[in-house]
């Protein structure tokens, strides 16, 4: 399975190499990259995009594309926050997660219904529902930045450990939300690799008609997929506000496109069927390093966005080239005949 040729054909090594290169560059320029506190800060920064990217990757692997997950996360967390605040909730934060997950489930299920049952195109449907949900949030609920119940604040303050930077004296706390990310990663890894549901997602991304004929319940699988993405989004929303100790309904909006870029950079094929969690994580790591650490090599913050854009373009260009090479290789091989011991 792990022949050297196969490794070189996938994108992950290249992204990994890019990360290493970038890290070394930053370390050389500032001496601050490989410090404990910087690394912890990076991990903290990537928890939310990584959680988003997992669901996003699953959808793209199935051959679709979902741009509504940030809207779902925002609306779910906002409604949860308001409810808990207005009822003066002071209990365990688990309820907040559960409520938000529930709202996320309902919103994701709507996507699932439109896409799986009514068979509407995914990009446009999720554009529509994203519009619907943000409209509801700002319109019906007149959402604005708001406080957060104390238990959530408490949860946000929980740390796994603290990293101290000897030189600057800065300390960074590894947030306990990282555990949620790890748990989701393990769950989804198991789901995608060891369950028929997971294999079904890949099968649908490969050839939906064939999946239907093989006996996969395509509608049910897709319905699950989008609902699951909704649940993940809901959980991510609460994780976000707990880390910020503050519920601003618009902070997560606009992240969709960078998350999708990270997923694609990590080797997931836009047309579906191929994609790994490792690659996706690497893609998110790269994007996070870019967003957070450019200042350490002297790139002024004003130029970071342009830089990110350039990276997306170069990264996708390289991936596109790889796909092209793969196709030429396979068509040349089509001339070969069977190897049969008749």
């Amino acid at each position: 399975m792990l022949s050297p040729r196969r490794i070189l054909r996938s994108s992950e090594p290249y992204v990994f190499a890019a990360i290493i290169l970038l890290s070394l560059l930053i370390q050389a320029r500032s001496g601050q990259f490989f410090t404990g506190n910087n690394l912890v800060d990076l991990v903290r920064a990537l928890v939310v995009p990584a959680l988003f990217s997992i669901g996003c990757m699953m959808v793209i692997v199935s051959g679709g594309i979902d741009v509504s997950f940030t809207a779902i996360a925002s609306l779910a967390m906002y409604v949860t926050d308001r409810i808990l605040l207005s009822s003066d909730y002071s209990g365990n934060v688990i309820l907040a997660y559960a409520m938000s997950a529930g709202f996320g489930l309902a919103m994701g299920a709507l996507n699932g219904f439109l896409i799986a049952i009514l068979r509407l195109p995914t990009l446009v449907v999720t554009l529509g529902t994203a519009s619907l949900y943000t409209g509801l949030m700002f319109g019906a609920f007149s959402a604005s930045a708001s406080d957060v119940p104390p238990s959530i604040v408490q949860h946000g303050k929980e740390t796994l450990f603290t990293a101290v930077n000897q030189q600057s004296g800065l300390t960074s706390n590894m947030p306990s939300q990282v555990l949620i990310l790890v748990a989701v990663l393990i769950l989804v890894f198991f789901l995608l690799r060891y369950t028929m549901l997971g294999r079904g997602i890949y099968a649908i991304g490969g050839d939906e008609a064939a999946a239907e004929r093989a006996g996969f319940n395509v509608r049910a699988i897709k319905m699950f997929l989008y609902s699951f993405v909704g649940v993940l989004a809901g959980i991510t929303g609460v994780a976000r506000i707990s880390m910020m100790a503050y519920a601003d309904p618009s902070t997560m909006l606009g992240m969709e496109l960078t998350v999708i870029a990270a997923v694609v950079l990590g080797g997931t094929r836009v047309t579906g069927g191929l994609g790994t969690l490792t690659g996706t994580l690497l893609g998110v790591a790269l994007m996070t390093i870019l967003a957070n650490s450019l200042i350490l090599i002297g790139v002024p913050t004003y130029w970071s966005r342009a830089f990110t854009g350039l990276v997306i373009i170069i990264g996708t260009g390289v991936t596109a080239r790889q796909i092209g090479a793969r196709q030429i290789g396979s068509t040349r091989r089509r001339g070969q005949s069977l190897k049969t011991r008749a």
Partner: protein, 346 residues
């Protein structure tokens, strides 16, 4: 199984995609009537029409640009970045070159040059995206996602994020002129663009080649069409239109900023799809897109008149309507196709 000779109008409106136009028209009239009934003293007044005509050209023109790229099977998510960058280029030039307090006669040529700079920027941005897509085979979604970030990033970089607002007054004066005291310049520009692009698509060979490329790029190559050239020209056109939109925004706001119009991208895609542009490529008419633009504008303005209903409800309605229209379109085109297959395979 002969069909009776139908009238030219009926024949023109036969396909399910043409019926889409009729549906949009009905929807438009419905929204119009609804708003007029609910707010008779505010909606459908001259002042209101005038105000609407000043609002929609900027995103309407970008919606047309996005529609063109979608017809060729791609999408241009970088329209807003291009618009802002073009406006900022023009603004920086004007601020740097025009001495303060100059009389209009002196300023005018500078304005012309600034406009040209903006348009050239738009063409260049479009060309860049077009090359990424046609030469490097980067999928359009990703390439224009990248260019959106890149162009906005450059705009932020060269302005340090600050709005460019010390523009010569003459610019917004000209930009906000109204013909016959009623039709804003931006509206006239929109009409000219909509009509010319519409004609381009329906009557010119470039338009036909765009539709064919969007339907099947492989067959298009085998048929002798120059795919790369068509794509490049399409994205350059989209870039050009975006720069026009940017100039219009600058006239209205009397300044240029790197992050104006951020929600427009999503809106324009929705408008295009609602207007009948097939996201897979190959189909769609500017007439439909125009109707969709008007529907959105009527809704927007109408909702504005209800003080206790937030504008964000428009997004809710918009999202809901889009989904309903999608469902409807899908069901209808599937039914029409089944009928056609049975008739045609005789």
């Amino acid at each position: 199984m002969g069909k009776p000779e139908s009238s030219p109008v009926a024949r023109k409106l036969r396909g399910p995609r043409d019926q889409n136009l009729v549906r949009l028209l009905v929807m438009l009239l419905f929204v119009f009537a609804l708003m007029t009934v609910l707010r008779p003293n505010q909606f459908a007044t001259i002042a209101d029409f005038n105000s609407m005509m000043r609002q929609f050209p900027e995103y309407g023109i970008m919606a047309i640009g996005i529609s063109l790229t979608m017809i060729t099977g791609g999408i241009d998510l970088g329209v807003v970045g291009t618009a802002n960058l073009s406006a900022i280029v023009a603004a920086k030039f004007l601020i740097a070159a025009v001495p303060q307090g100059s009389p209009p006669a002196v300023v005018l040529p500078y304005l012309a040059v600034a406009v040209i700079f903006a348009l050239v920027t738009g063409l260049a941005c479009g060309a860049f995206a077009g090359i990424l897509i046609s030469r490097f085979n980067i999928p359009a979604i990703l390439a224009t996602l990248g260019t959106q970030q890149l162009f906005t990033g450059i705009a932020i970089g060269i302005t340090n994020g600050r709005p460019q607002s010390r523009l010569p007054l003459l610019y917004s004066k000209i930009g906000n002129t109204e013909f016959f005291d009623f039709f804003p310049l931006s509206f006239v520009i929109f009409v000219v663009i909509a009509v010319s692009v519409g004609l381009l698509l329906s009557r010119a060979r470039f338009g036909t080649s765009m539709y064919m490329l969007g339907t099947n790029p492989k067959a298009s190559r085998y048929a002798g069409l120059n795919n790369a050239s068509i794509l490049l020209r399409t994205y350059m056109l989209s870039g050009l239109l975006s720069s026009v939109a940017g100039l219009i925004m600058m006239a209205r706001a009397n300044s240029a900023k790197a992050d104006y119009g951020a929600p427009y991208t999503l809106q324009c895609v929705l408008i295009a799809v609602l207007g009948g542009i097939d996201p897979n490529g190959g189909f769609g008419k500017i007439a439909g897109v125009t109707l969709a633009i008007l529907i959105l504008q009527f809704l927007s303005s109408g909702l504005n008149m209800f003080n206790n209903i937030s504008n964000f409800y428009r997004d809710v309605i918009w999202g809901g309507v889009l989904i309903l229209v999608l469902v409807f379109n899908q069901l209808l085109s599937r039914r029409a196709e089944r009928r056609a297959v049975r008739k045609g395979a005789a």
